[in-house]
């Protein structure tokens, strides 16, 4: 029998670990994707996936079955990511955009605007600028931007995930985009011509 998320969560709450296993196997890919986009680092993303499910298991009693289990997991993962980024910032490291021996930043994977060498150069310039700009976003702005831009979540869900009012979530997206624009436009202006 195929469990729905809500039924599996209900079973897991009663101590059925196999039911929780169903949820883990079902949501691991999407949580990894979110964690990677939040951190830009594969190892950190793996750690965040583990931590997200561990916290979810411990807090299952707080899960309200009226909401979607996936959204609830996203909320936990976002908060774990914010904790991680804050800890990294405090340590004044280059993380999450460095630290590995041969770091491959996710922005290096950004599709270049075109195949010509000029466009590739401009694409790299944008990537470099974007990397700097993202580092300057606050954790909340980064989370709001990732959830909105890459995950396509509506403002209300982002607000729930971040534990803020919808207006504040909307404003965080706005501030993030505004900061990215200010940083990228000088390069983009050249690239777009």
């Amino acid at each position: 029998m195929e469990w729905t998320d809500s039924a599996a969560a209900d079973e897991a709450r009663k101590g059925n670990q196999q039911a929780f296993r169903v949820l883990v196997e079902r949501h691991s890919h999407s949580i990894f994707r979110l964690a990677f986009r939040m951190t830009g680092n594969e190892q950190d993303a793996e750690d965040l996936v583990q931590e997200t499910f561990l916290r979810a298991y411990k807090e299952l009693h707080q899960f309200d079955a009226r909401s979607a289990f996936g959204t609830w997991l996203y909320r936990i993962c976002t908060n774990c990511s914010i904790d991680l980024i804050r800890a990294r910032k405090r340590r004044n490291e280059e993380q999450p955009f460095g630290g590995e021996k041969f770091p491959v930043h996710w922005l290096d994977r950004v599709a270049s605007p075109g195949p010509s060498p000029e466009r590739l150069t401009q694409g790299n310039q944008i990537t470099n600028r974007l990397e700097d700009a993202l580092k300057r976003l606050s954790e909340i702005e980064r989370a709001a931007f990732v959830l909105r831009h890459y995950e396509g979540h509506p403002i209300e869900e982002i607000a729930t995930a971040l534990g803020v009012q919808p207006n504040a979530a909307k404003h965080s997206v706005f501030r993030a985009v505004q900061k990215l624009r200010r940083a990228l436009e000088p390069v983009w202006g050249v690239a777009a011509r």
Partner: protein, 228 residues
């Protein structure tokens, strides 16, 4: 003509806009150009690849996760090797840090070498602390904490030295984490926690996300050490 504010243009990029705005964008070349510039910029950073995970990824995550889930396994008499390793590690660390605090430079060990040793010692210490914290989270109040208490005592001295060295080199984040860890280690090492006391310790580990921070910082320290 009043132009559309940047905030509304951003909103328009992500969601359906009202008729009034749509109409304005059709009529006003300046706003349309601004909107196209914004869209082009945001489109350019939209598509990127996340490293792929195969179809068995969910099972892999479960395999790593299952041993950490509370009440999943009976308690085992673990880590007999603990009896020896921490003592040796502490001894090496004491010698190393003594040199560091007195400013003496040991021949043949560069600044980078010293930093690497310190980071690897920190990583090793946090690995062992992580195991203890996990055990504490799963501890059964009925059984008591004898084994955990011994391990906490062993880790305590090492933790103090590492905390002092982190403070010495002004690494506030590591010093704070080691301070939080030390308070838990102290409670376990000195107290004979009642079930209520154990619950408080477990709650503190949970509330401060201590296990997560220890795991992340340990991984970071190893990575930084290996990169030196």
């Amino acid at each position: 003509m009043t132009h559309i504010a940047e905030e509304l243009l951003i909103e328009a990029y992500y969601s359906d806009i009202g008729d009034v705005l749509r109409e304005h964008l059709q009529e006003c070349g300046e706003c349309r150009a601004e909107f196209e510039r914004l869209s082009g910029l945001l489109d350019s950073v939209r598509d990127y690849r996340v490293p792929e995970r195969d179809e068995f990824y969910g099972s892999d995550v479960w395999a790593r996760l299952a041993p950490d889930l509370p009440a999943a396994k009976p308690r085992t008499n673990w880590f007999r090797w603990w009896m020896l390793v921490p003592a040796l590690a502490t001894l090496v660390l004491v010698v190393f840090l003594a040199g560091m605090f007195t400013g003496q430079r040991q021949a043949g060990i560069s600044e980078k070498g010293r930093e690497r040793i310190l980071l690897m010692a920190l990583s090793d210490h946090l690995d062992r602390s992580q195991i203890l914290l996990t055990e504490l989270l799963h501890a059964d109040p009925e059984i008591g904490l004898t084994g955990e208490r011994d391990k906490a005592r062993e880790l305590l001295g090492e933790n103090r030295l590492l905390r002092q060295s982190a403070a010495h080199i002004r690494d506030a984040a590591d010093a704070d984490l080691l301070d939080a860890l030390e308070r838990v280690l102290l409670d376990v090492a000195n107290g004979a926690p009642s079930s209520n006391g154990l619950e408080m310790i477990q709650q503190r580990i949970d509330n401060e996300a201590l296990l997560f921070k220890v795991r992340i910082t340990g991984t970071d320290a190893r990575r930084r050490g290996q990169n030196l």
